[in-house]
């Protein structure tokens, strides 16, 4: 029972990272400034690398090889939240998604650093530094553009209003919440969500943006159980194109 709960947790973490990493990498070469292009691409690479580390733990637990898990599933077999699969849109949306997601990820890793499942606590501790930078990067942009010009504030606000219900989908409850909590593997999505709200509120309050009321917004759910938007399948196909042509390809 615990193993099912653990695997479900690992899959959703890894799938979020792989899909968002791939999405963010779509900005490579197209970013708004050369420096930002490189920074955003580097972080996308970090996310894909992190997903590999979580798939490796799953492999230890008897699941397929990381490459097979990453490239040989259809969209409805992915456990990522819908937030991460949405198309990049314009840069304001990509920044807001990065901000909302990475705050949750940093807190999730801080919680997992205390996990009773040692491979997970070790990995979470190791990766915290990378995500600390990702959050620093997101906060710097949100603070900058969230108080800059009418256009930048309006754009970020529009993206924030649009993205928040999807972001709440990060915390979709698992049927195994109590098993994870009782076994001290993970303190649970509700605890994470409460800390996340506090964390993003703190940054938003330093800008001219308004955080929509998260108690009123209805979360976009379903991603954790394989219910996805039309945008995920094309992403998965593009991502796995090389692997499907030649599984032994290497560079």
């Amino acid at each position: 029972m615990t193993e099912i709960a653990l695997k479900e947790l690992l899959y959703k973490i890894a799938d979020d990272q792989l899909i968002l990493g791939h999405r963010n990498s779509e900005w490579t070469g197209l970013g708004p400034l050369l420096e930002e292009d490189i920074a955003f691409s580097s972080m996308a690479q970090d996310k894909v690398g992190q997903s590999h580390a979580f798939y490796a733990i799953l492999h230890e637990l008897g699941e397929s090889e990381p490459d097979t898990i990453a490239f040989m599933r259809n969209a409805d077999q992915f456990h990522n939240c819908q937030l991460v699969e949405l198309p990049n849109g314009e840069y304001d949306f990509s920044l807001i998604r990065h901000f909302l997601f990475d705050h949750a990820e940093l807190i999730r890793f801080q919680m997992l650093a205390e996990s009773s499942y040692e491979p997970l606590s070790l990995l979470a501790k190791k990766l915290q530094g990378e995500v600390r930078y990702h959050v620093m990067h997101a906060n710097t942009w949100i603070k900058q553009l969230g108080s800059a010009t009418d256009e930048s504030i309006k754009r970020l606000q529009g993206s924030l209003d649009f993205a928040l219900p999807y972001a709440l989908g990060i915390f979709e409850l698992s049927p195994h919440e109590s098993s994870l909590i009782d076994n001290k593997i993970f303190a649970g999505e509700d605890a994470l969500k409460a800390r996340w709200l506090e964390s993003i509120e703190k940054v938003i309050s330093e800008t001219q943006l308004n955080l929509p009321d998260a108690t009123v917004a209805s979360p976009v759910l379903g991603g954790r159980t394989g219910l996805h938007t039309e945008h995920l399948q094309p992403l998965v196909e593009e991502m796995s194109e090389v692997f499907k042509i030649d599984p032994s390809a290497d560079w």
């Binding site: 197209l30 420096e35 490189i38 920074a39 690398g49 530094g129 990378e130 600390r132 930078y133």
Partner: protein, 205 residues
Amino acid sequence: MKSLDPRVNRLNLPDNWSSELEKEELDQLATYEVFVQPKEGKPYQHEGIVHASNEDMAFVFAKEQFSRRNTCTGLWVCATQNVMVSELTEAGKSVYEDVSDQNTSQSNGNDKFEVFHLLKRGKQHIHMGRVEAANYDEALIHAKAAFSEGKPALNVWIVKSGHIFHSTLEDVVIWHTLPEKKFRDAIAYKAMDKIKKFKEEQAAS
């Protein structure tokens, strides 16, 4: 014509767009100088420049431009306009040969200044240490007393300590996984070996 890159095709760029997107002159952001500490105990060294709207942005850009490979334990950024630069000497002459030994200034200000030396043409400026002085000229005189032993300084940069935006001790973890990111180095791909092997296979078949 279509691009080989699906992301570019998805943008549906107009065929003729050059006239609409002409850039204004001087539309670039200000520049910041970036200094990296490669290892604990090693001096900070100049790595390059980023464009940014303020020092916070300069810092987040600098982290990925100039500390995404090898190892790193600290990062400084400083607006280029706040870096005071000495003459560049020729033929291995030290900048300090033309600097007075005596501080004639009557002031007793005690601003802190960081001193950087260029020790070899084409290499980076390296942090030598800190001096206290009332102004940049006085800082150069103090720097002569403190740092002119050893290899000649071919060029000296002086920056007020307060003008440097630096990483904190808690930030050091952002570089912890760097040693595992060998995939960011071209050498990790052993491209020449692979090309050689490919050619041998081609020749054999």
